[in-house]
Amino acid sequence: MKKIMEIKDLHASINNKEILKGIDLDLYEGKVHAIMGPNGAGKSTLSKTIVGHPDVEVTQGEILYKGKNIIDMEPEERALEGIFMAFQHPVEIPGVNNAYFLRTALNAKRKHLGLPPLNAAEFLRLLKAKLKELGMKEEMIHRSLNEGFSGGEKKLNEILQMEILEPDFVILDEIDSGLDIDALKRVSDAVNKMRDGKRTFMIITHYRKILDYIEPDFVHILKDGKVLKTGGIELVDALEREGYKVFGES
């Protein structure tokens, strides 16, 4: 198994409050890692730290991605290197056409890879195919980015972006929150289709349901800004039965 990301003794603060207190975590190429933990454990902060959110200040430790420390890289550089996060709350950007945004993002990536940009017609063909796969309406091509989308549509739009950008490392930050069962199934199917043995997924969730659809290779339990336990799906079973107290204090 090849490590795609190694997180070593990671300490990080938001507004001068330390949230991550020494995370050690290895993530493997082609695997699905589920991150669970009680509210305030630092799950969302961990994902924000990986993608370089400006609110997060890293005070100690490193994140090696493909062997390179990415702590000082700009968010867009990390994105171009293949790190993608499906947001828990995708923002609305009025007046910015969804298709235009997606093409700009894809062409930024293609430029980074030394590939020629896709023109509008080529891109539209790609986009329409992906929309069909995801069972999304074509009208969303013409709509403004996330504006007026329902909760489910926003999450599907995140998945659409993932499919178009074909990242190597995908963080799904509570993608299951606010999804009905049909939408959850569609999102899960899309993720499973993207599991190609190379692409790594980090699924942050509170609930077991999504892990029934997307089977994780590893489950990590976070508590108080540290990784409390690493194992397989059996950790989730224990959690379901008895709650986080089952893991006690390490």
């Binding site: 400006p54 867009e76 947001f87 950007i93 910015v96 945004f101 930024a108 980015l145 950008l165």
Partner: protein, 477 residues
Amino acid sequence: MGMEKVEKLINSDYELGFEIDIEEEKAPPGLSEETIKFISRKKNEPEWMLELRLKAFHAWQKMEEPHWAKVTYPPIDYQSISYWAAPKKALESLDEVDPEILRAYEKLGIPLEEQKALAGVAVDAVLDSVSVKTTFVEELKKLGIIFCSISEAIRDYPELIKKYMFSVVPMTDNFFAALNSAVFSDGTFVYVPKGVKCPMELSTYFRINAQNTGQFERTLIIADEGSYVSYNEGCSAPSRDENQLHAAVVELIAHKDAHINYSTIQNWYPGDIEGRGGIYNFVTKRGLCEGENSKITWTQVETGSLITWKYPSCILKGDNSVGEFYSVAITRLAQQADTGTKMIHIGKNTRSLIVSKGISAQKGQNTYRGLVKIHESAVGAKNFSECDSLLIGDRCGAHTFPYLESKCANAQIEHEATTSKISEEQLFYLRQRGISEEDAVSMIVHGFCKDVLSKLPMEFAVEAKALLDLTLEGAVG
């Protein structure tokens, strides 16, 4: 990281701030009857025009500079300004246009002949006080369309000038309009005869070049019954340490079933972050929808000037006439803009639409000021206004002053206003998708302005979008 960086992004250089090295003839600073006679003489004007100018001057002397707008600036010394500057050589044909000027226009991205010819645009260019060259005149003439400098029109079409000039903006309308009426240097005149749809975009490019000079152009556009014309103006000025005054007047008249589209891309020198240099832009623009079913559309993209005081307006006199105002105003550095529109509903079933987008960054202060006035006679009148403000950073300001007056019981007035900030979350979202911070800011701003930019004629929309990017971009990091 974060918003400070965004501020840096929008702190870009003014790329049109060069000076054209040509020999200029300039009137000595100061304003008196002598100055006005000098201007009138230089322009070979008929006696009646001089008399009108002097009348305006005497009225102006009794008027006071208005200070109700939300802008502050040191007192203007009207005696220190030169009211006339012109390239020394007389200009008859394009061959005689000083190559320096042509090069300057090229640098400005306004190819005077060939390139605009390809684009099908007729151009009049006004450098300081004189119209440098009007292209396509002959072709337009075949259709009966008059497109010339206002000086030529005064000499060649006195009846039209006497009938229409001052008819929409009276010479004593306001302090700056009166000043303009006294000293106006040049500008553009357009007449489109009955039933003629002008087949090309008409365009004027204004540039202030000479130092310590004011620019006072005057534009008059008449669309006769059933005609259509689309007119565009652009402007720029060199970077200077002193402030320069620009006080223009634009009058539009749309007769029955006529439609005038008037677009402006205003890019006068904005001054620096401390407010040094930069143009004082005090402009009176007004259109009269004289006839039934007439329509006037104002579209403006305002990125320049230190101070902007400008309210392109429509008087909706004809029944079923329509007035529209689409505006994007960006204030950054130390710029202050107080801009908006007036929609005066007089005729029955008149309709007006106002879409205003203000963007403020750095120390910029952006004010929307608009009046919707519905007279008793305007039965069935409708207005819709939308005023949105976007703030970038925490040192800028956005202000909205909508005035609504209705004397008609069944009129409908709707007003919507929003103020928002470019949020960290929006920026971060786009950057997480691999889009650079600079492109992300540009994308958000373009999205915000979309409803207005889509109203510009295509070639000018391209120019406006490029200008927006130029205004927003800068040295990263």
